[in-house]
Symmetry: D2
C-alpha cells in the first residue's frame, strides 16, 4: 500500500499539498492512518505540469521525509496540476524506476494497490504491453505495467475504456494465475488537462479515495487519505468509480474492468 | 533515537544478528518497541572485524529493510566481532557520513542518544576534536564528535577514562549552551579485541541496553533492545554503567562523565 | 562498453584485482584504454563466492572510484572466485538493477558489449525469458536478458550450448529488427566452481578479452583489459571463443551462437 | 577541479545552459577541455531563483549525465538567475553535502579550485566560521568553509570585501600550514539580485573564467569554460578579478585577499 495526493486548480506551490498540511503526504510517509502499512518509505515521486506539455518528474529512493531536494523543489515549484506519491513496496525492489508516478509523453500515472500474485504472472503481464510502449518499461512493478497496457489500449482516445480494458487484462491474469485479493486499485492519472482517478477492488475492499474543493485556493485535492484530520468536508469516492476532474467539475461514473474475449 | 546491535564471540554470519532473529535489527528499523521513534529509517551501517586490524565498514542512506546489498552482505560475511546500527535522525541530514558506525584505524563506534541542543553548540563541540583526529570529521553528528574527542582524550590508552572525559566535555557544553535533557547516551565501541558499551543519561532516563550470552552460539549479543521477544534471559545494564565484554567475561563499572577543569 | 575483471584461484583480497593493480578495474573506471568509452562510471558491481553456494552481490550507481563502501569491502573480503564490473551505459538507465553482475541462485554473470538496436526489440527479448526465470528480471538491460534466457536454455546442464542458444536468439532479433553491429559480446559467468568466459562478435570486432596465470598468487585473472600495463604475459583470447577456467586449466573452444529453427 | 556555469538575464529554461549547448555543462561533466580533470563526475548541483527570495537547490552524487531527475528539472524550470556545478573531488567524499552550490538564506555559492593542503588545517578553517553560520556547515569542503566564513565577514553588506577577508583567512592558513599552490579560486555567488564572480590564484595560474552576453537571449552566461566551442565572443576574465554582473552591466575590479591582522 502506498499513499498519494494530486491537485488540479489555480497554481499553488507543491508544498501546499506535499509537506505543509498537518497530515501532508510527507507526514503520511511515516504515519499513514487509513492503510495497513503506516510507513511508506520505499521511495517517492512527483510529477507536475508547468510550461511544457510533458510533466516534470522527480523520483528518488529515500524516504520522502529525509530528502532535502524534495523539500526544496516543492517550495519552489508552483503548478496547477500535479501528483505526488510515497511508496510502500509490495514486493518489487526499491529503485527509482519502480517509484511512482510513471510518465510517457504528456501522460503521468500513479497507483496504490496491487494485482494479487503478480510476481507469478509478471511475464504474461509484460507481454500485454504493446511494442510501441515497451521502451517505456523501465522497472518491474504491476503499476507501470497497468499504465503502459492502458496506453496501448488507447488511453489517449478514451481514458476510461482504455483503463477498463487494461485493468481487465491484469485482472484476468490475477484470477487465472494469481492469488486473492485479485485487484486492489486506486489510481490517478492525467494528460496535463484533466485529472482522472479510479477506485476499484475485485473484493469491494478498495483502498480509500477522497477529494475536496477549496474555494479559497481555487483548486481540488484528490488523495488516498485526507490531508487535514480536522476538516470534515472531504468527500469519499464510492468503490467501483471512475472520476474525471476538470476545472471545478467532477464527473463520477462506474468503473468496471473488461474481461477479455480470449479469456472466455 | 536509533537502534543498534553488537556481537562478540565465535564467528557467526552477520545475518544471525542483523536480519534473522524475530525482532532483528532490520525488523526494529520499522518497528522498534523500546524507544520513542519506532521507525529507524534514516540510514544504517555495519562495521565488522575480519582478517585485518581495521574493521570493514558499510553504510548507506536507504532504510535497512530495503537494501539488497545489506541483505547479501550479512548473508556472506562471518565475523567474531561486529556492530550494526539503524538510524533515526535527531536533526542532522541523512547522509552516509552521518550514519553509524564511525571508524578510525582499528576503532569503531556507534551511538544512540543525543546531547541536548547540540545544533546550538556544534562549533564548540568540533573545536574539542584535536588536530590529529579532525581529518576524520566527515559528517556533522554529535555522535561522531564524541568518538573523535574520545580518541583525542586517549581512547587507545584508557577507553573508560577517555570516554568519561569526552562525554564530560560535551555534557559541559550542553549544560552551558544547550537544552535539557543534556545527555542521553547508549554507545558501543571496539578496538577489534574487546567490545565496550556505555549506558548513561544526565537525567536517569538513559536509552535501554541489554546483553545476552548464547551458549549454543558461543557468543554474546549487546543490543539496544532484545532481538527475540520471547526470550527472558536478556540482562539489562543499569544506568550509569561502563561495560567491557571480552571472551565470555563481562565487567561493569560506574560511568561518570568528567566535568572539565576549565568549566569550573 | 564496460570493463570487467574476474578471478579464480587461491583466495585473495578482492582489492588485489579491483583496486590495487596499477591499471586496476577502478583505475579503468575513469581511464580505460582499450575501449571506446574511457569513462565507465554508470555504476559498478561485485559478485564473490564465499562460504555459501550463492555468491555475495554488491552493486551501486556511483562511479566505482568514489564509493567508500566498495573500497572497504574489497579490502576485507577474500575469495577464490569473484567478478567485478564497471559500467558505461549503452542506453538503459543507471540503476542498481541494471548494474552487473547479475545473480540467480549459484550463478552470476557479467557482460561487456551489446545487441544492436536492442531498444527496438526489447519486448521480444523479454519474451524469450521463461516463466521460471522471469521473476529474476529486475532491470531492463540486454545483458540481464541474455543471462536469464541462457538459464532457461539449460545453463546448469550445458553452459556452452545454453549460451550459444541464448546468444543466437538475441542475435536473431538483432538481425531481424535491430541495427549493425548486431552482436558484440564479451562475458564472464560462474556457478561457483568454474569460471566461464566468452569473446564473440558478429562482425569480428569483439571487445578484448585477456587472461593471465600468476604463479606467485596461485590464481588466474580474466579481464577485459590487462590490470598492469607493464606485464607482457597477458594472453589474448581469440574472437569467437568459449573459455572454461578450472583450477589451473584453461579450455578454449569455438563459440558460435545458434540460429533458432523458427528463424529459418 | 570542477566545472560550473551561471546565468543572469531574461528567464530561460535551465537546460539552455546545463544540457542543450554543444559543450554544455553536462557535456563537460565527462569531457571538460580547459582543466586537468576532464571527468567531473563526483556529484553535481543546481541553484535557481524563482518566486521566492531563497533559491531552489538540487544536488546529488551521481554523475550529472546519468541523472534523469536533473534532465527533467532543467527542462521544466525557467529562471532568470541560476547556477550549476559538476564536481571533481579534490579529496573530500562524494556526498550531497559536499556538492555545490551551497545555500544560506538568499545566498548561493559555488567554487572551482582549492586551498593547498586544506586537509591539514581543516579544523582551523572551521574555527573561522562564526557561530551564526556554523549550523550551515553540513559537509567538509574548503568551498563551503569559504562561503560560510565570507557570510560571517559581512557578505550581505559588502560582498567583495567579505570575500577578500574570507579568502585571506584561508590563504593565511594555506601559507602557514598547507602546501603550494596555496590558492586557486574561481567562484560564483549571488544574493538573488546580482551575480558575482571571482577569478584568483596565489600563483597566477587561476582556473579559467569566461562570460558572454547573448542579445538574442537577453542574458549573460558566466562559465568556467565556454559552452560552445565555435563561438569566438566569449570574454575571458583576467586573473585577480572580482566581477559584478547586474542587468546587462559588468563591473570588474581587482580582487585581492586580505591577510589578517593577527597573521602579522
Amino acid at each position: 500500500m502506498c499513499r498519494w495526493a494530486a491537485y488540479l486548480g489555480q497554481p499553488i506551490f507543491l508544498e501546499d499539498i506535499v509537506s505543509r498540511p498537518a497530515h501532508s503526504l510527507i507526514r503520511q510517509s511515516h504515519g499513514a492512518m487509513r492503510c495497513h502499512t503506516p510507513v511508506n518509505a520505499d521511495g517517492f515521486g512527483l510529477a507536475w505540469y508547468g510550461e511544457r506539455p510533458e510533466p516534470g518528474l522527480y523520483r528518488d529512493v529515500m524516504p520522502a521525509w529525509s530528502d532535502p531536494n524534495l523539500r526544496s523543489l516543492v517550495a519552489q515549484v508552483r503548478s496547477g496540476l500535479f501528483m505526488a506519491h510515497v511508496r510502500a513496496s509490495t514486493g518489487t525492489a526499491t529503485s527509482r524506476n519502480n517509484c511512482h508516478p510513471f510518465t510517457v509523453g504528456r501522460w503521468c500515472f500513479m497507483h496504490n494497490g496491487q494485482f494479487g500474485g503478480y510476481d507469478g504472472f509478471r511475464r504474461d503481464a509484460d507481454v500485454q504491453i504493446t511494442d510501441e510502449f515497451y521502451p517505456h518499461r523501465k522497472g518491474a512493478t504491476d503499476s507501470e505495467a497497468l499504465f503502459l497496457i492502458a496506453l496501448g489500449e488507447g488511453l489517449e482516445q478514451d481514458p476510461k475504456a482504455a483503463m477498463e480494458r487494461a485493468a481487465g487484462r491484469l485482472a484476468d491474469l490475477a484470477m487465472r494465475r494469481g492469488t486473492a485479493p485479485y485487484v486492489r486499485l486506486t489510481a490517478a492519472f492525467s494528460d496535463g488537462q484533466r485529472l482522472y482517478a479510479i477506485r476499484y477492488a475485485s473484493d469491494e475492499q478498495a483502498p480509500t479515495l477522497y477529494h475536496r474543493w477549496s474555494a479559497s485556493r481555487g483548486g481540488r485535492a484528490v488523495v488516498s487519505e485526507p490531508l487535514e484530520t480536522d476538516e470534515d468536508d472531504w468527500q469519499e469516492v464510492p468503490q467501483g468509480s471512475f472520476c474525471i476532474f476538470e476545472g471545478e467539475g467532477v464527473q463520477i461514473s462506474p468503473f468496471c474492468p473488461v474481461r477479455q474475449a480470449r479469456a472466455a
